[in-house]
Symmetry: C2
């Protein structure tokens, strides 16, 4: 059986990544969403094992040592990483996996798994991203500026991505990400057609 | 403005290529269907300028001489080819073009326009193709055998294609071809996102 496909989705905070992801996963219930591990404290409403695996610093560093992470990074004193086992198991079984990573994590995945398919979710404009960030009650003004500055870094690394989807209207963005998944399944070199074409 | 994308769709007689094409064009009214030219006599119900441009042998050979064809071939004493001008004009205007070519024509297009996107439409099985061909009243038994033999040639050249879509259920096949078009538009290197992301 052909191996599952690995999709990585990145995009600035405030672009609506979670909403797009949920929409896509609603449509593609056959896919596995890979939950990241982190040592940062959970925010209100965040659930362990759903939003993140919340680990202690010691647990995380042991996971690094044991090679249990597909990629990891230290961001402002907090570790973030992707548990390897669940992802590899699903891919081996032929299931597609999707994960939500920042540009650094996506670059690591690209290095370790060159067959990964990288999708960048972009806001319609800088202005619109600012509006969306300011609309979030949780976001302090200073944090908004920091996120906008980071967008420039993200734009500079967009060439590493296979696809860019502009999240203008939510349904459009979901439809486009779902179309990318469908098209990648139909790529001749993925070989899925061999399983569908019965001699 | 970014140039339009060129899609080539191939597949054995009886696979349902025209039905899939019509379904896709119904959904993507912004696309241009490139009509082939031929010197073979029109069949019943075929309309000049809709199904084909029906040319005389002299007209066709003059078009070849004048470089007016993007690709052409002589098949069993009949010429088939793709008029260049309409296709180039649409692509230059940023419009996508789709054309229906056999494996030979698709290979010529791949040579002349490496950026073309090649899609092969496959029946679910050899048996099912045979059933569909025998279901056509117009098809003689001997012709069916010839078409099935040709399928083997087509299968041997499938590696030249970017995508393979198995036409099991019509709606699925239409949805998949439409998804391929959407995904290709979202490919980072096509640059369409630059037109959608306003600074």
């Amino acid at each position: 059986m052909a191996r599952g496909l690995l999709f990585v989705i990145s995009g600035p905070s405030g672009v609506g990544k979670n909403t797009v992801l949920n929409g896509v996963l609603e449509e593609r219930k056959d896919m596995f969403y890979s939950i990241s591990a982190t040592t940062r404290p959970p925010r209100r409403n965040e659930v362990n094992g759903k939003d993140y695996y919340f680990l202690t610093k010691e647990e995380f560093e042991k996971a690094i040592e044991n090679g249990e992470l597909l990629e990891w990074a230290l961001v402002y004193d907090n570790y973030y990483g992707t548990p390897r086992k669940a992802v590899e198991e699903r891919l081996d079984k032929g299931q597609h996996v999707i994960m939500d990573l920042d540009i650094q994590g996506a670059a690591h995945i690209r290095n370790n798994m060159p067959e990964a398919i990288l999708i960048f979710l972009l806001p319609p404009s800088r202005e619109e991203l600012k509006r969306r960030l300011l609309g979030r009650k949780s976001e302090a003004k200073a944090a908004v500026e920091k996120r906008l500055a980071y967008l420039e870094k993200e734009l500079a690394s967009i060439d590493r991505y296979d696809y860019v989807v502009v999240n203008d209207i939510l349904e459009n963005a979901c439809r486009k990400v779902a179309a990318i998944i469908t098209a990648e399944e139909a790529r001749a070199d993925r070989g899925y057609w061999r399983e569908q074409f019965l001699t």
